[in-house]
Amino acid sequence: MSEATTAKHPRSFLERHHHLLRRLHSLTGIVPIGVFLISHLLTNGSVVWGLLDSRKAEYGHAGVATFQHEVDFIHSIPFLFFIELSLWGAIAFHSILGFYYAKTGITNTGSYSFGGNWRYRLQRITGYIGILFIVYHVGTLRWNWTFLTPGGTAWSAEFAGSTMAQILRGSPSELTVAGVAVTAGYLLGVTSLVFHFANGLWTAAITWGLTISQAAQRRWGYACAGLGAGLMVMGWAAVIGFATLDPAEAKATEQKFRLKEQREAEKIGEVIDRERNRVSAIDAPR
């Protein structure tokens, strides 16, 4: 039995740390990747939910201004690069191990077409699609692989909404065939990743032993489906929201927003200078 075989061959790293690696694989899918996915889709959805913010309407497109505000906030986070690095690390770990684990199974939805079996299969398919999408998405928007964007458009954090619209539409003016392809790819990628996360959250509760009875698993299933539906709406809203923007109008909004921000910063600077002068005038020896 086990004694005989353990003595036979030296156990590999993967075998010795099997439990830890499996559970880290499960955990990284939720923290940080899943948590990031939620915040990322909420941020991107701001191009649509930002329209509800009437204070942003003065800049032009309230959604574009809200999104720019969100992007500026993210770029103000200290040590952002290390946050990015931890995400890249987690995604690489989760996807490489996930690919290796997926290879241990052979799908059989043909004979056993149960819902759970389909989710098992879709979890693997969406994992493959999802990682391809993430590499394309991060490569083109973060690492500037402009050879993969239509018209070689580079995404800019300063003009976040307008450059995104240009990439999804394929050109600064009208919607092109390449634009439709990129938009369709984004919709597929976002749909895959949201499903993968929601279903993964459901199975993780079984893996860790949080939901034991079938009733508990069903209840948690409704919660995960609800979360998934919400994220799906947010993700689709973001993609369709950007793809239907007028890049020129979006750019005008961003310029106006930037100008206003700068003016406000200058105003604050002026106030600070004035106060400083006043204080030094008081302190100055007579």
């Binding site: 039995m1 099997h18 439990h19 499996r22 559970r23 004979s111 949080l210 698993q217």
Partner: protein, 282 residues
């Protein structure tokens, strides 16, 4: 019955078929045949007159008595494994019309109600074929050994009377104890696949039946002596972490054992065991 048909459209179809079954019909049996381990397999068809209430085993007995194919060629009798003939031993498990189940309880009326309907019989695909429909399920029993699925009572002295069991625990455990090691949960599992190399058995997926049996014996007051050893076995490669949560096991279990609940319960036990081990520094 009513809840089963509600949940599974295939079960509802079978119930409808049974009502419309024609008397005095002939059914075609398409059987996947194999002359021995490592030998190639082939298909053979047999015409079988179906009396009312016939099951797959009684039809296989007819084929054994008249081993002549639909083309009129004389062939060897089809070999199958069976024991109790009342769905409690698990020996006659095979794949019938694409789904795994016991052949003794598979009524022809459920599957082939009309003249000339076809029944497809295949051996389970996750175990090596011995001959025709007979497979070698040794790995299934080996996996029960991996989790020490027993109560250790061997000793040189009187162990006294057994522990007192609460009705609640008895209720949970009685259902788990109904497992007959038939292999349905393994045949339907996408994570449990054919492994002919015995050396790889200890690191290949253990399967729902063994996880559920580990739970059965961990929850037994005397059996719990081996609790940590069972959890160690489940933590390793091919253990509970290799479950992919497709949940086919619970759908095909002929005894309706809550296998996915057992997997979740043992998942929790392994989580706690792993954390304890981490901080104990083992």
């Amino acid at each position: 019955m009513s809840t089963a048909t509600k949940l599974d459209p295939a079960a509802a179809q079978r119930a409808a078929n049974r009502k419309s079954a024609k008397a005095g019909r002939t059914v075609i049996f398409r059987v996947k045949r194999c002359e021995g381990p490592g030998k190639p397999s082939r298909w053979e068809e047999f015409k079988v007159p179906v009396p009312p209430g016939a099951n797959v085993i009684s039809c296989l007995q007819h084929i054994a008595a008249n081993p002549v194919t639909t083309q009129g060629a004389r062939t060897t009798p089809v070999v199958w494994d069976s024991g109790c003939l009342e769905e409690v031993c698990g020996a006659c498990t095979m794949v019938i019309n694409g789904r795994v189940r016991q052949s003794c309880s598979a009524l022809i009326d459920d599957y082939a109600p009309q003249e000339g309907d076809v029944m497809v019989l295949e051996p389970m695909s996750k175990f090596p074929v011995v001959r025709d429909l007979w497979v070698d399920r040794s790995r299934l029993f080996h996996n029960l050994q991996r989790v020490k699925a027993w109560v250790p009572i061997d000793g040189t002295y009187d162990l006294g009377s057994g522990p007192i069991e609460s009705p609640a625990s008895q209720g949970t455990r009685y259902k788990l104890s109904e497992c007959m090691s038939c292999g349905c949960c393994l045949e339907a599992c996408p994570q449990f696949n054919l492994e002919e190399d015995k050396a790889a058995w200890d690191t290949s997926f253990i399967g729902a039946h063994a996880i559920s049996q580990a739970r059965l014996f961990n929850e037994h007051a005397t059996g719990a002596i081996l609790k940590d050893e069972r959890l160690d076995a489940l933590m390793g490669q091919g253990g509970i972490n290799d479950c992919g949560n497709a949940q086919n096991c619970v759908k095909v279990c002929p005894k309706h054992i809550p296998l996915t609940e057992s997997i979740a319960a043992m998942g929790r036990a392994v989580t706690i065991h792993g954390i304890k081990k981490f901080f104990r520094g083992e």
